[in-house]
């Protein structure tokens, strides 16, 4: 069980980030979009922790940063959900395609 190189973590994080971005841009259901954004933020966490552990100059700061990221991600989801509820109350849908009242 040799230790995993830094690059592997970075690549996994990058893949996660891209999956999240893809989902956030293409999915119809707003909740799934919010989850995809979470995925992107978690990719960041992975990056931070990987750098913090295996980076060129490893130190604890990355982990602290990731704590903040987690918290703020949670707050973002909370606000997102709240807005989604308000939206749902008015329009009875969570579908992103229905957001078309505002036109160019």
């Amino acid at each position: 069980m040799s230790s995993v190189p830094l690059q592997a973590y970075l690549i996994v994080a990058l893949i996660l980030f891209c999956i999240g971005l893809f989902g956030a841009l293409t999915k119809r259901n707003t909740i799934i979009v919010l989850i995809c954004i979470e995925l992107m933020l978690n990719a960041v966490n992975l990056n931070l922790v990987a750098f913090s552990k295996f980076g060129a100059s490893a130190n604890i700061t990355g982990q602290v940063f990731s704590l903040f990221t987690i918290t703020i991600a949670a707050a973002e989801v909370a606000v997102g959900m709240a807005i989604l509820i308000a939206f749902y109350r008015n329009k009875r849908t969570v579908n992103i395609d229905e957001m078309n009242t505002l036109k160019e």
């Binding site: 704590l67 987690i70 918290t71 949670a74 909370a78 959900m81 709240a82 509820i85 109350r89």
Partner: protein, 124 residues
């Protein structure tokens, strides 16, 4: 080196536990398949509704209070993320950490009071 081994072994152990925990239901259910009868009828497959004929879709809209509590949970649960590192490192940090965390907890409490006052905590 030893501590690293313990560290890695611990997680190996976790994997083993997860594996066993997964296998138990699978094995039990597979074995059970050989033992138990299987004669599904229309009536048996009907959704249970206290003996009445089921009506309407069961997937009713959840009451909004569930979401409110979910939001509260998300916020408070995550804020505790800060409490654990603080508690672990408290001895090394001293008075400053105490004051800082005091402010933090007061803010957190204010948030709770806010929710309380806005009648979010009421199970309506």
């Amino acid at each position: 080196m030893e501590s690293l081994n313990i560290y890695q072994n611990s997680y190996l152990f976790v994997i083993v536990f997860l594996f066993v925990a997964l296998m138990l239901p699978i094995v039990a259910l597979s074995v059970g398949r050989l033992l138990r009868p299987n004669q599904p009828t229309e009536q048996k497959m009907l959704t249970y509704e206290s003996g009445m004929e089921p009506f309407q879709d069961a997937r009713v809209q959840f009451h909004v209070r569930y979401y409110l509590f979910a939001l509260l949970f998300v916020i408070f649960d995550v804020e505790t993320v800060f409490l654990y590192p603080w508690a672990v490192a408290y001895e090394k940090l001293g008075v400053f950490a105490l004051i800082e965390m005091l402010i933090f907890i007061v803010m957190l409490f204010l948030g709770l009071v806010y929710a309380w006052k806005k009648k979010v905590l009421k199970w309506r």
